[in-house]
Amino acid sequence: MKVSERGVLDRRSFVKGMLAAGATVTVAACAPIVTTPGPAAPAGPPTIAGPAWIHPKSLVRAAPGYGGAHLTWKVGDTLKWLPPEKFPADEAADALAKLPKTKLSEMYSKMLRIRFWFTVWKDITLTKPEPTMYRGLFGRCGQEAIPVGVSANLTNADYVATTHAGDHDLLAKGVDLKAFAAEALYRTTGPAHGYGGVMHMSDLKVGILASEGIVGHSGPMAAGAAWAAKVKGTGQVSVAYTGDGAMQSRHLFNSIRSAANYKLPALFVLEQNFFSSGGVAGMLSPSPYMADYTTGLGIPTVVVDGNNVAQVYAAAKDAVDRARGGDGPTFLECLTQRWYDHSGWSGAKAGTDGAFSMPYRTDEELKTWMSREPILRYGIFLVDRGLSTQSELDALKATAKKEMDDAVDFARSSPEPKAEDGVKKVYPTGVVPATQFYGHPVVE
């Protein structure tokens, strides 16, 4: 049998061969059998950026010296992923150092803004709580480098979707600090006018699609926005931030799968702080690395030190360039640690950093992570490389603190929404009757 160069089975030679072999052949009129050449052999495993000790090369076995996560996790085990004191002198650090000084300072300021957002609200809540504020703020001091490193590659036109515990993600994307503070106190001057609160809101003018309360929702939100970007053809990209717990959600995994299938311009950033709500990520999952869930999809899967803003920046830059170029999504897992409890200020004190006496983490463990925190290490990098001086950094810190204090004042002096506005804004058009009253009046 002859198979032509184009892979089309030559019927004539096939029949001739069969006849020669003694077969009785009846040839019915039909289209040629086309065997297209198989797809090119897939490229090797996706590149893993970051230090080799962070991610195992195999999908199946656990990290060296670690054992099956869900069987052997002990309190204190997060220290196996502790980063070094300083940024390694790697390609990522060099890439970051090349950025203009204004950008480097802006990134430093953004990280401070996030730090003060949480510490100022903490101190207020633990001394004289704001009556209109939801007490369960999600303190993410320690995770500042992740959204700041990612956002350094984004513009206002790019989309971000995050969790209800994503204040740091929203601030890094560029929500106005004063408006954000007002929303935290449910005032009309917030981006959602006091309806949603910071846990669920949009701010489309800076590309914030949504923060949402349902774990895993940010995956499809970002993927759907990436779909919109693809339709528009503008080269916009879309970023989903999630925590480690979200990898257990069908929403997140399925959106990564479909983003891969349709090559949607998305970046899935997973903030791995090892604790999923009150539980332990390594006990909820057969693998401690959430990246192990996505390597099989054939998309670039990267694990970095999430307390190293250079590594986050560089990995995100690759991913954003890939997405803008039409090459589809990337999964970026950033290892880090949060200083406070999942929600609320249990174990914390006004005027002191960190939440101690947590059942899932030793005090020594937290203090060690805090000594490798992102703002400290970024500052060391900037000074070591001569990109900034300590006094410049101190000045940025003072400015950031003042901005936060001003934001709180703005929020406190902003008006609350009218109670009867609760039945408004349900639909873009049409009103909802106030059925809590006899007569079900329509309140205009």
């Binding site: 309806y195 949009s202 349902i214 499809p220 939100m221 919109a228 873009p428 049409g430």
Partner: protein, 325 residues
């Protein structure tokens, strides 16, 4: 006017709107969106609009959750309508994202971010042999309770097309149940809008108001001639919109007839028929009310069982007569 099937009417409305707004998207499972009318006119959504806008490469992933979720997000990002058509038995699959995000988003964002999604579901009806997981009717009532969505359920093919146009132009999330009901009819080729929130009287009468949603509407239609022969002047009330329900029109009808029979093929407890009765009962004193529905039992595969359990024309006629007394 050309004879048009429900499927064609629905698709033609979507096609028209998508031709005029390049940011609109459409996705569905199991097919790329095709329909052919009796006169030969045909629609093929994938070839007309391309894979970017019709995210269904031969059909979408068998993941109705993803289909709805991504459409919801796409609509919020582009602020342009996104349309999702889901197959029969998966009606409740995306309910979590609908409940928590699609319905809530206009309100959550303080009106800053609309969610212009048309979710096209099936309350398709039952047939012999389908069995419990393939015979869903009544999910309308579950979606109706979600705060923030509008829900429409057209019986007539004309209303399928007109309400689909209205739903797309609404700017907010609308759930449209397009299967069940009149199979085909003469429908104009041009676009037109049937307003959301307006019921209609399909047959006027003075003795009894019979209100029904598809697919039960087909059985009501079969019952009407028999009722007329028995001297009963029935008023056939077609809500068309489930939420916001046309309370004024229903109250007007029941005030006239003083008898309301609601026929539903959904399951008894908390079916939408309960809400229809509550609306009328609050406003019309001295009237009599009754509802006949499929029982609070899953729909079996055995044809005779299903037929016996369904409020069909003979049972409707009997109930109407008993209500009149």
């Amino acid at each position: 006017m050309p004879v048009t099937s429900r499927a064609f009417a629905m698709l033609q409305a979507i096609q028209y709107e998508m031709q005029r707004n390049p940011l609109m998207v459409y996705t569905r499972q199991n097919s790329i969106g095709t329909a052919t009318r009796a006169d030969g006119k045909s629609i093929n959504m994938l070839t007309e609009f391309g894979l970017n806008r019709v995210l269904a490469r031969g059909g979408q992933a068998i993941d109705e959750d993803w289909m709805a979720n991504s459409s919801i997000a796409c609509a919020i990002a582009s602020q342009a309508p996104a349309i999702v058509t889901l197959p029969g038995m998966t009606t409740l699959y995306p309910i979590e994202f609908v409940f928590n995000t699609m319905a809530a988003w206009n309100h959550i964002s303080g009106g800053e971010a609309r969610c212009p999604v048309v979710l096209n579901l099936s309350d398709g009806g039952r047939s012999s042999g389908s069995g419990q997981q393939h015979s869903h009717v009544g999910e309308i009532s579950m979606y109706a309770n979600i705060a923030g969505v509008k829900v429409v359920a057209p019986h007539k093919v004309y209303d399928v097309k007109g309400l689909m146009h209205a739903a797309i132009r609404d700017g907010g999330p609308v759930i449209i149940f397009t299967s069940g009901g009149e199979a085909s009819a003469d429908v104009p080729d041009e676009p037109f809008v049937v307003p959301i929130g307006k019921a209609q009287i399909l047959q006027e009468g003075t003795d009894i108001t019979i209100a029904s949603l598809p697919p039960a509407t087909l059985e009501v239609e079969k019952a009407l001639p028999e009722l007329a022969k028995a001297g009963i002047k029935a008023e056939f009330f077609d809500p068309r919109t489930v939420k916001p329900f046309d309370e004024e029109a229903l109250i007007k009808s029941v005030t006239k007839t003083k008898r309301l029979l609601v026929v539903s093929h959904g399951h008894y407890t908390n079916d939408f028929s309960s809400h229809i009765i509550a609306v009328a009962a609050q406003a019309v004193s001295g009237a009599k009310f009754y509802k006949i529905t499929f029982p609070d039992a899953p729909s079996p595969g055995s044809g005779p069982m299903v037929k016996w359990m369904t409020p069909d024309a003979p049972k409707i006629i009997e109930a109407a007569k008993k209500l009149i007394g």
